[in-house]
């Protein structure tokens, strides 16, 4: 790893951070309001949230089996943000969402998220630490345990956001029984399974946009805008680097 890469990498992180903060400020948000393209799967999730509140059904959120010490943890953290937001939005229902995960740290964080939701929304009476559970210790046992949770707890809407492997195929076995199931993963393997078997799949980066589309907080939307900026930067870098490569300079 060359030092120039480290400098560029550091610059990327710093500029990204600054832009997120800038785009989060009120003046930017009001002067240049964000408008995002529509994502059908997220629209269906919104509808599912509304329906869950109105018909008193339960939503289930599964965070995958990523460890916090893996780079793939970001998708699970997005899942946690989604859990928090969905919990807030369904707080007027008497059935708080349940959450399953496949790693210990995600279990603890999901319990914390549910507790925080209950405090934020004055629904401590409904808080139950067992609404969040690690369904299994290995990815397959997690999938099997999650399937049981979905069936046993009468879940009517699923949100699968996180890092999954082939076990995603097992999870899909029960997803189709629910009214709505939104799936998304950073793993291309899981994405392909979700795409083939379920109807509402968030592909690739779309899953990271979920909290922003659910209006979780200003930085989510700001970071989405910054991602677009950096997408263009990466595109430019790809083109420039390729030209330099062809010219033999790079």
């Amino acid at each position: 790893m060359s030092s120039i890469e480290q400098v560029i990498g550091f610059s990327v992180v710093v500029f990204f951070t600054i832009l997120v903060i800038v785009f989060s400020t009120k003046s930017i948000r009001t002067r240049f309001p964000a408008s995002f393209r529509k994502i059908e799967a997220i629209n269906r999730l919104k509808r599912a949230i509304g329906m869950a509140v109105e018909d008193g059904s339960r939503l289930h959120i599964s965070l995958g089996s990523a460890q916090l010490t893996d780079p793939s943890n970001a998708s699970a953290l997005v899942g946690l943000s989604t859990l928090h937001r969905v919990g807030q939005l369904t707080s007027t229902s008497d059935l708080p969402p349940i959450c399953t995960s496949g790693s210990g740290s995600l279990l603890i964080l999901s319990q914390d998220a549910l507790k925080r939701i209950s405090v934020d929304t004055n629904t401590q009476a409904f808080y139950d630490p067992n609404h969040a559970s690690m369904a299994g210790a290995t990815p397959f046992s997690y999938a099997v345990g999650t399937m049981e949770s979905i069936v046993d707890r009468g879940v009517n809407g699923n949100v699968l956001i996180g890092n999954f492997g082939t076990e995603a195929g097992l999870l899909c076995e029960t997803l189709n029984k629910a009214r709505v199931s939104i799936t998304g993963s950073d793993s291309i393997t899981a994405q392909s399974i979700f795409y083939a078997v379920t109807q509402d799949t968030l592909i690739g980066e779309e899953l990271y946009a979920l909290p922003a589309y659910l209006a979780a907080n200003p930085t989510h939307q700001a970071s989405l805008r910054v991602e677009d900026v950096f997408r263009m930067v990466i595109g430019a870098a790809l083109i420039a680097g390729s030209v330099l490569k062809v010219l033999g300079i790079l």
Binding site: S75, D112, E148, L170, V197, S223, R231
Partner: protein, 206 residues
Amino acid sequence: MKSPLALIIAVLTGLIILLGYFIPNPVLSSIRTPLLDWAVILSGVAGLVAIIHLIFGVHWEKVKKQGMQQWFSLVVVVVFLITLIAGLFLEPTNPAFQKVVTYIQTPIESSLLAILAVTLSFSSLKLLQRQRNWMGIVFFVTVIIFLILNSGLLSFTDQIPILRDVLSGLQMIPTAGARGILLGVALGSLATGIRILIGSDRPYNN
């Protein structure tokens, strides 16, 4: 109530570890390495906490309730205790204890994966019903082509130059698509991590 101490710890830890990626400083490295090791240890302890919760928080509670699920949960608890006690006596490197993996866990997981061959194929029957769009059709055609390619039935094409080049070009497409997906995922991960490092997202606070 937000805990400022937790926020400070999260941000500080994150920044030190992150800086270690970009600044090859020995002092920084000497701080960063134990920080990472501690994170690994804590991750393991969190795993233990989660297992205890799974067995005694979730399944033991189900054992107390009536119904069919009661018995399944009882099986979970009993089998867990047997495995744990056996492991504590034998230790995990003992070949006798490792048979738990090779003769119980592996056949079950392999069989589950085998089930997937059938269930995914069955679900794929309705692939075009679910995804009736351009993407779906392209996906559908690709799956068929690559299933046949994977089977090795088209291995004779290796001897036909034009066909070989076409198939080789076809196999390049996933590289481009995967690269685009991975770059997008990296951007999303970057954004998610930065939101935590600036204290915006705090999944750890009660």
